[in-house]
């Protein structure tokens, strides 16, 4: 198995690094915009919640700081002769923080727990039919059909101790929506590098290095204590870093990067993020309400969509709004996603004259007006990007009324299909195009297309998307992905802007790479001296 050898190599490299570093006591004061929502690892599928869980709990496989899949609680894995059955060898000699031994029963328990109705992780395991114990340190996962990418779905699925969880009445994931409150939401017992010392929600969480961690020697583990403080206001968060009250922050506002970088004791580390920002518009309806055109939908005309795509000056947005902290793109996926090509990524140069000509061709030479819905607290400078785009479209005669709102009010508009023109950002946790197609391209049905608010519906494309799930021939599968993308790009159903770049600000004696999913694993962190 090539995957296995690669993983082993990574582990060896890490091990040697780990041996070199000194193990002195270091407290890391860490701040980001939001707090983890719960300690129950299966109750929320959300970035900050996973980040904290990753310090305490571990999945079978995890992504390292470069985004590569590496072994965690599984040491070896691969499909068996039956392509619907995957076999995982488990790490031996691992104990939970409470002293319980980790074994196959815990894995079966944890994965089954994650598939329960109250779990927020169940979609990631929707293709899983059963999890069976082979022996104490081997399990099999059976899927409904061949699923070549199944392991990618396991990197955020954390392992809990079956005894501890059941004994504490937490056999089912915390049902947040129904007001469920369980022991596991406030307490934690993982196998991870850090144990929970204390936690006050939204205020302060303290973690301490796990003395019995199996990865001692394999990971640097230089941080011995983590103090995690959510700081919501961007200005205050930066101020806390500048004044030396915290050592490490996520979500540095782009405008403050230079200041942080120039400060003697601080530095900024960057990496491309797994998230593309784009505009969607309702091209499927015959008429839309939020425009001033009677009886017609200007977005239904592909020339209008192309003109609007062409009017966006992505470089200007990158330079001014994002201060260089973005990668302009012509497709709604970041480069590391399977299916990405340079051709798709190429975007049209801003050309107002050509755009105006297209508008005239389409019969909208005098322009039209429409409402754009935009979040103002979700993506990096989301509202400023919308404003800038509004100005650019104004130059080709499209009067866009901007309606910017907090994410809690913005996303329901998309999900309830009550917006005709909106901004959205999309991350691809599976690193594969199918995930994008399922949510954003497939026409809206009960189990697909829940985020496709464009009204775009193409039976051929839908059929191709459905076929991806069970296609075992990777080449054929990739070819299908290519052809779906070609259709999607030709129709300009979305207007991509850029891929975000992640920035972490930290003390300059810290050596830490930015993880593309914005998931710092502090066991990898090292200090310069």
């Amino acid at each position: 198995m090539t995957r296995k050898t690669l993983s082993t190599a990574v582990l060896i490299a890490l091990a040697s690094q780990g041996v070199m570093s000194a193990a002195h006591a270091e407290t890391l004061r860490w701040a980001r915009a939001g707090d983890s929502l719960t300690l129950d690892p299966h109750s929320q599928n959300e970035g900050p919640t996973h980040t904290l869980a990753h310090q305490i709990y571990e999945p079978l496989l995890q992504r390292d700081m470069a985004g590569q899949v590496i072994p965690a609680l599984a040491t070896e894995w691969g499909p068996t002769d039956d392509p619907t059955v995957w076999r995982f060898k488990l790490r031996e000699g691992v104990t939970f923080h409470g002293g319980e031994e980790f074994n196959a029963d815990d894995v079966v328990f944890s994965l089954e727990r994650a598939m329960m109705p109250t779990s927020a992780m169940k979609e990631l395991l929707s293709s899983v039919e059963s999890v069976t114990k082979v022996d104490d340190f081997t399990i099999d996962i059976t899927t409904t059909g061949p699923n070549p990418l199944m392991p990618n779905n396991l990197t955020n699925l954390f392992m809990m101790d079956s005894g501890w969880t059941v004994d504490n009445d937490s056999a089912e994931p915390q049902d947040i929506a129904n007001g469920g409150d369980n022991f596991a939401a406030k307490n934690a017992n993982g196998t991870g590098a850090y144990t929970l010392v204390s936690r006050v929600v939204d205020e302060r969480t303290v973690l301490q290095a796990n003395d019995n961690y199996w990865g001692k020697g394999s990971f640097p583990l230089e941080v011995t204590e983590i103090v995690y403080t959510p700081i919501q206001s961007a200005a205050t968060r930066v101020a806390a870093l500048l004044s030396g009250e915290v050592d490490f922050i996520q979500d540095v506002p782009v405008q403050d990067l230079a200041r942080v970088d120039e400060t003697d004791s601080l530095k900024v580390v960057k990496a491309a993020q797994n998230r593309t920002i784009f505009f969607g518009m309702n091209s499927g309806a015959d008429d839309i309400e939020s425009d001033d055109v009677d009886g017609a939908n200007p977005f239904a005309d592909v020339r209008v969509r192309e003109a609007m795509n062409m009017a966006i000056n992505r470089e200007a947005i990158q330079r001014v709004v994002m201060r260089g902290q973005s990668e302009p793109t012509g497709v709604i996926m970041p480069p590391f996603v399977n299916g990405w090509t340079e051709e798709f990524d190429a975007y049209p140069a801003a050309d107002m004259a050509a755009a105006k000509a297209l508008m005239a061709d389409a019969g909208y030479g005098d322009g039209f007006s429409v409402v754009l819905n935009c979040p103002n607290d979700r993506y990096i400078n989301d509202e400023a990007i919308c404003q800038a785009a509004v100005g650019m479209w104004a130059q080709i005669g499209v009067t866009v009324n901007l309606d910017a709102k907090p994410k809690a009010q913005h996303f329901p508009l998309i999900q309830n299909k009550t917006t005709d023109f909106y901004m959205l950002g999309w991350g691809v946790p599976t690193f594969d195009s199918e995930y994008i197609f399922n949510f954003l391209v497939h026409s809206t049905t009960d189990d697909r297309g829940s985020w496709n608010n464009t009204g775009y519906s193409n039976a051929d494309v839908d059929a191709m998307i459905v076929s991806l799930a069970s296609e075992t021939d990777l080449d054929a599968r990739n070819a299908t992905i290519q052809s779906i993308w070609e259709t999607v790009q030709a129709e300009t159903i979305y207007l991509p802007i850029h891929n975000q770049i992640l920035n972490w600000g930290m003390k300059d004696n810290i050596s830490f790479d930015v993880q593309p999913e914005d998931q710092p694993h502090f066991k990898f962190l090292t200090y310069a001296n």
């Binding site: 939204d202 302060r204 403080t229 959510p230 004044s243 009250e245 996303f411 697909r448």
Partner: protein
């Protein structure tokens, strides 16, 4: 007297019920919690199922009376965001807000009364005019700007005071206080100045103008004619009479302090109920929002009641019948 308190409490409860209902109705328009609860991987089916489970399909009055019925029993529901009982979250956050509000109020009232008395007594003095004019700067800048400027100067540039949070806290009979540790006290300085400055200016200006009026009354003139010492006149007679209208305003201002704490807590990441409320607004966490409003409403009703009672204590004219406190 007793009947009077009962009547005020009854009125207060009525006010609360109305406030709660208006607030509850209004929240229906703020947004939907679905996306936040379910995450981006959710399907349409998931959403419908959630709607059913949360009871969001019930008519609004039904939802409201459910909420109110539970609230009377001290059951405020559970946060949509992280599943923790609202009562628990509020109880955890309340000490932070109360400490901030009380310290700010003390700052505002003590300095406000002192400056107000000083500027009234020395009406045309240079220092008095200077205080009066510079106090106007305090009310001519929005609170959030003052907070950010304070952080910029004292935390970022001078590195003298913390920019966020409430420092170390100590548990005293279940009440987490920051008043007993050095870092807790240091953390209080900037937020309480930010929060109290505006109110201080208001109190000061109010005390000054009331005091100026009182100083012109016959009984002050008569007190002077009786040959009482200046200090006895200014503090024994004039200030006491000044405080009568001031107490009402201070009561109202205390309510304003709790409301404006939302801004201060946002700027300074102060872990109080105001920050909780703003987070809840962003997250459409209706149980928290509704409970916060009820809490604030209750506080105001109580403050008003206390103010009315204080009135009776200060003003002997109200003691005999005591039925009408105004």
């Amino acid at each position: 007297m007793f009947a009077y308190i009962i009547r005020r409490l009854f009125q207060g409860a009525l006010v609360l019920a109305i406030v709660g209902f208006i607030a509850f109705c209004m929240f229906r328009f703020i947004g939907d919690p679905y996306e936040n609860i379910l995450g981006q991987d959710a399907t349409v089916q998931d959403r419908l199922a959630l709607e059913e489970r949360l009871g969001l399909n019930d008519p609004i009055p039904v939802q409201y009376f459910k909420f109110l019925g539970n609230a009377v029993q001290g059951e405020f529901g559970v946060s949509y965001r992280n599943g923790i009982p609202v009562a628990e979250m509020i109880a955890q956050r309340l000490p932070a807000t109360i400490e901030l509000a009380v310290v700010s109020a003390i700052f505002a009232v003590v300095l406000g009364v002192l400056f107000g008395v000083y500027t009234a007594i020395n009406r045309d003095g240079f220092l008095a005019n200077f205080i009066m004019t510079s106090s106007l700067i305090g009310v001519s800048l929005p609170t959030f700007l003052i907070g950010i400027l304070l952080i910029w100067v004292f935390a970022v540039e001078l590195k003298m005071l913390p920019s966020f949070g409430r420092g170390e806290t100590v548990d005293v009979f279940g009440w987490k206080t920051g008043l007993l540790t050095a870092s807790g006290l240091k953390s209080l300085i900037l937020p309480s100045i930010t929060l109290g400055l505006y109110q201080m200016t208001l109190v000061m200006r109010l005390v000054r103008s009331e005091m100026l009026e009182v100083l012109r009354t016959d009984y002050i003139r008569f007190a002077r004619a009786r040959g009482l010492a200046r200090r006895a006149i200014n503090f024994g007679h004039a200030l006491k009479n000044t405080l009568l209208p001031v107490v009402t305003i201070i009561g109202i201002q205390l309510g304003q302090i709790i409301a404006f704490a939302i801004i201060t807590e946002t700027v300074f990441q102060w872990p109080g109920v105001g920050l909780l409320f703003i987070n809840a607004v962003n997250f459409v966490d209706v149980p928290i929002m509704a409970t916060y409003l009820l809490l604030v409403g209750t506080l105001f009703v109580l403050i008003n009641l206390v103010v009315d009672l204080l009135y009776v204590i200060i003003d002997p004219r109200l003691r005999l019948d005591g039925t009408e406190a105004r």
